[in-house]
Symmetry: C2
Subunit: 185 residues, 2 copies
DNA sequence: TGGTTGTTTCAGAATAAATTGAAACAAGGC
DNA sequence: GCCTTGTTTCAATTTATTCTGAAACAACCA
């Protein structure tokens, strides 16, 4: 059975490396390392795990595990399961990479882009309106408004785009993306 | 001139709010607040500014200003300018929102996605290969490989997509995005 | 060459974010 | 009710990140 043991060891090592590289990526995107690692672990092992297993594997505290799992549930990229005769809660990751990606985009839009957009509208409406006179200051106010409008229009396009792909039936994005990359240049 | 003063005051206030909301957003995306604020300031004022002006307006130290400006230059979303008879360096933001966005995507891909992709390939190549036998463990190895492949394929699609839009002539994205949002559902 | 102005660097300080661990809380079973 | 098992919360701590300020550096000028 030495071969089998060796295989298993290498599998575990590959999983650990996957988890670690995922965790590294996290910081750059404003996600906590542990949260990313927990998700990576559930994804790459592909089986439901309970809190204790996750704690042990990632070497983290119970509190941290609980909060990270909660966050992943809120993002909608992992779900609860149960095992017969076991009172513990188990968690498993969405195994469809594209649907996972859609969930992430959906949440980030909702949490970060939408509030920003609302603020930008407020700022626009509170910005001083240029009057008819043609002084330099009026020109500047006009330019200010133009810059605000362009940013607003950009973000609105992004929002619509994300809704278009992310929300309902949903799997349009995968097809579109693949088509778009199919023909080089 | 009370009206003019009032207009100017309101303009400054609008700019400050823009800068602040931009800065808030930053944290969620793994960017330092100051860097985002400096960029927002240059964008919304629309005119070249030197280090001292930026320091004063954002209330930050010279060191911080210098490093943030440098980072923005590295990202390619601001550029250096000079004024006749003034030895100071001036900086101005790219005023085209879409080209700005392209620069950001290009850099993030290069810095974060490409290295991750390289690591994923390494992990795949170091993962144990299943043999012909049909045991549970072999099935698991197969499933592991499938998950890795799916993630790899996803990220490769994303990379190609980004190259397609971001790199050369470049302005395709704007058109495509607008078209895609044009027809609801 | 020495003086002046402007820019960069980086060790240490300040700040923000993530993590722990123990207590509080829930949900059963007896 | 009152144990037992599992989960959540949160104040205190640890860790990571950002920022400061002064010194080093660079470029120009007289």
């Amino acid at each position: 059975m030495a071969t089998r043991d060796n295989q298993h060891e290498k599998l575990t090592e590959a999983q650990d490396r996957f988890v670690a590289s995922w965790g590294q990526m996290a910081g750059a995107w404003g996600i906590s390392r542990t949260m990313a690692e927990a998700h990576a672990l559930l994804y790459i092992t592909g089986r439901p795990m309970n809190t204790d297993e996750i704690m042990d594997r990632l070497q983290i505290s119970r509190g941290n595990a609980s909060m990270s799992i909660r966050a992943l549930l809120d993002w909608g990229i992992i779900s609860r399961t149960h095992k017969r005769g076991d009172r513990k809660e188990y968690f498993e990751a969405d195994q469809d990479v594209w649907s996972m990606f859609r969930s992430i985009v959906r949440e980030r839009m909702k949490r970060e882009v939408e509030p920003l957009l609302a603020t930008l509208f407020e700022i626009r409406d509170a910005s001083p309106a240029p009057d008819e006179a043609a002084g330099d200051q009026q020109k500047e106010l006009l330019a200010h408004q133009k810059r605000l409008e362009e940013m607003l229009s950009f973000m609105q396009t992004m929002e619509k785009l994300s809704h278009r792909f992310v929300s309902p039936s949903g799997s349009g994005l995968e097809l579109a993306a693949k088509l778009l990359t199919k023909f080089d240049r």
